[in-house]
């Protein structure tokens, strides 16, 4: 007995124990602080995204009855589409402006401008094209007065959302405070109103001057086609490679080198894969630029190591006793793997694949180099083949593109795009969890 403290009463906490308990308590506090900080950052991030992005899901529209006179739109009177197409949007603009001026009169609102043309800044410059497309699609509308829902200009939209103020437009050439007086009156009259913006989710990108019309739909399709390529290539290649390396390959120098390199590939910056894709797929193989096929191939290269590593980890996690059991009753190596090991590793493989896909979905840098960033995704693909081969953008590339543009209305859309991207990523992660649970329950 060298330690005198052991002889003392159990009721007295000795100095050494006190010190140890204090250290443990301190450590717990550090841990709680760390988690607390993490939560604060998470809440700050999510709330910022939601607060800034939600306005993108609302869009200001005008509900206007527009007279479509035959003498302007179809002089011949035979409703020949080819002839009617000769009337450009310039022919439609005055009709819409006049309809707005008429609406002001009908509601007893004074037009502060000299003529109907003065009201133009309230309307989106896309309005004429929308009306024209509708008329060309339904020629019987000519000669009638039809009620259209047309977009308000992005500054009017911003005014109603509080983004644009009367002070901020003082030096704006596009719109005056007087227009906002009209907008206020129109809003009270129920002609101008905010509504849910489906076009933002389903629509195509628009030019720099028409943020009110821009949507993420086309680049969403671009991302979707890329994910088809990534899933279709990286899952079979990755799983086959992992099964071979883990279950069949003999351990030697060569397989060691392969293993080390797969781990290294997982850490290679994605932009390196981008320039590799540019050199190999576009410059050497002459695949089309900006195409989701090429994007998908590049992202496949990037996702493969992730899938291989997670698949090998889940194969390793299958207890060796299962392999022995199967081999012991005379199953071949392949039967052992496919009947017993693979089903047990499936939840892990699926989770790894979905996490890999989610990573690929959010990847922007490699797309820079193959031309998917900066491409204005303004046309829907015509079909499956064109979905893979026609130039398109992708969701993160579209968001980057919007954030880059000058108009603050686009800034709002970038945040909105982030929300959509995050919804996709969360859905994929939830799917991974559900699949994992489901497959595990089967056993």
């Amino acid at each position: 007995m060298t330690d005198a403290t052991n002889t003392g009463s159990l009721y007295d906490v000795d100095a050494r124990t006190k010190k140890r308990n204090a250290a443990e308590k301190r450590f717990r506090i550090y841990g709680m602080i760390a988690i607390g900080l993490g939560l604060v950052f998470l809440v700050a991030l999510l709330s910022t995204i939601v607060v800034r992005g939600i306005p993108a899901f609302q869009q200001t529209k005008l509900t206007l009855p527009i007279a479509l006179p035959e003498e302007t739109l179809d002089k011949s009177g035979v409703r020949d589409i080819e002839v009617m197409k000769k009337v450009s949007t310039f022919g439609y603009n005055p009709l819409i402006e006049q309809a707005l001026a008429d609406a002001l009169d009908a509601n007893g609102i004074e037009n502060p401008f000299e003529d109907a043309k003065g009201l133009k800044p309230i309307l989106s410059s896309s309005a004429a094209a929308v009306v024209r497309d509708e008329v060309l699609a339904n020629p019987e509308l000519v000669g009638t007065t039809h009620t259209f829902e047309i977009l308000a200009a992005s500054r009017v939209d911003g005014y109603l959302k509080g983004r644009v103020t009367r002070e901020s437009v003082a030096r704006d050439n596009n719109i005056d405070a007087a227009h906002f007086d009209v907008v206020d009156a129109l809003r009270d009259a129920g002609i101008i109103a905010k509504g849910f913006n489906f076009d933002f989710i389903t629509g195509a990108d628009a030019s720099e001057s028409r943020p009110e019309q821009a949507g993420i739909g086309v680049s969403m399709l671009g991302s979707l086609f890329m994910m088809f390529v990534v899933l279709g290539l990286s899952l079979p290649i990755g799983v086959a490679a992992s099964i071979y390396l883990e279950e069949f390959a003999t351990q030697n120098r060569f397989t060691d080198i392969i293993e080390v390199n797969i781990s290294n590939l997982a850490a290679v910056p994605s932009i390196v894969f981008g320039i590799l894709g540019l050199a190999v797929f576009i410059q050497f193989m002459h695949l089309p630029q900006s195409a989701p096929l090429v994007g998908g191939l590049v992202l496949t290269l990037m996702t493969l190591p992730t899938i291989i590593i997670s698949t090998r980890a889940s194969l390793k996690a299958v207890p060796p006793s299962i392999r022995e059991a199967a081999l012991g009753i005379g199953a071949s190596k392949m039967q052992t793997v496919f009947h017993h090991v693979l089903p047990l590793a499936m939840p892990g493989i699926l989770t790894g694949t979905i996490i890999g896909l989610a990573q690929a979905l959010g990847e922007t840098a490699p797309l820079l180099l193959i031309g998917m960033v900066g491409y204005i995704a303004s046309n829907y693909p015509d079909g499956v083949a064109s979905g893979f081969l026609d130039p398109n953008s992708a969701m993160p590339a579209q968001i980057y593109e919007w954030a880059k543009r000058a108009d603050p209305a686009y800034y709002e859309r970038a945040w909105g795009g982030i929300i959509i991207l995050l919804v996709f990523l969360m859905t994929m992660n939830i799917l991974a969890v559900i699949l994992r649970r489901r497959f595990e329950r089967r056993w």
């Binding site: 299962i322 022995e324 039967q335």
Partner: protein, 266 residues
């Protein structure tokens, strides 16, 4: 043909020999785990391998159905003949060998599937049943042989992993006999079981010897004495003594055997 060349050292009826090992060496890398083992294992007999930990008894057992093939650094030399045929001959497919030489492992390792599928898996991959009725019959017969039929007949769809340890081990034995093997290798089949389950498995082993040659590795000398007719004592990779179980336990020739069974070494 080859059987005629084998000198029968232990002096038993050559027609009754199932496994015949001659000068078997097993290496793990540089480690010489099994040295010059010569043994004849009889048909319809329970043979026990005893010896202290690390003496090589499991290693030798695993080389009888080439389970050591799965360990890359493991190398087997010498002849192991099953019914006079060299199991390590280049033209032998280990899969066919293992269908003839079933194995039961230390830890019960049922597949995470239903009890029915656990038993039916072997017959399915070896094409032993032509239809569902035949398969059902094999499953029932195997479970009866495994002395577990009465306990599980009403829940064949329940997962095999949900059974108790002893039941799981008997399920594994039933699974091993389902492929109609000629030899059953058991690697410490009772070490993870409680005494009651152990008694059940031992009783089962006793019944199995009517149809199979059973080789059992065990740490328990009492178990070896209870279930086996022949006992082999391994020490440091050597087969020290191989004889009738009663002789080994009552009148061992080698002092090392005597020290082990009296508890002085091991």
């Amino acid at each position: 043909m080859m059987k005629d060349n084998v000198e029968n050292k232990v002096g038993v009826d050559a027609m009754n020999v199932k496994f015949s090992a001659r000068d078997v060496q097993v290496y793990y890398g540089d480690n010489h785990a099994i040295k010059d083992v010569n043994v004849d294992i009889l048909d319809k007999t329970v043979t026990a391998f005893i010896g202290p930990s690390g003496c090589g008894k499991s290693t030798f057992l695993r080389s009888l159905n080439r389970m050591n093939d799965t360990i890359p650094i493991c190398r087997v030399e010498g002849d192991i003949l099953l019914d006079g045929e060299d199991i390590n001959a280049p033209q032998v497919d280990p899969v066919q060998l293992r269908a003839k030489v079933g194995m039961v492992f230390q830890k019960p390792n049922p597949f995470p599937k239903s009890i029915y599928d656990n038993i039916a898996y072997g017959p399915r991959i070896h094409g032993l049943a032509r239809n569902k009725a035949e398969l059902d019959e094999i499953v029932e017969k195997s479970l009866r042989r495994g002395a577990i039929w009465d306990e599980v007949k009403d829940r064949l769809d329940a997962p095999g992993t949900g059974l108790s340890g002893g039941q799981q081990q008997r399920l594994c034995i039933a699974r091993a006999v389902a492929t109609e093997p000629e030899v059953l290798l058991m690697d410490e089949p009772c070490s993870a079981l409680d005494p009651i389950a152990t008694a059940q498995v031992e009783e089962l082993i006793d019944e199995l010897k009517a149809s199979y040659s059973v080789v059992i590795v065990t740490h328990s000398m009492q178990q070896a004495a209870r279930v086996s007719q022949k006992t082999a004592f391994f020490h440091l990779g050597n087969l020290v003594e191989y004889d009738d179980t009663t002789t080994i336990f009552t009148n061992p020739r080698d002092t090392r055997t005597e020290s082990y069974i009296t508890g002085r070494i091991g």
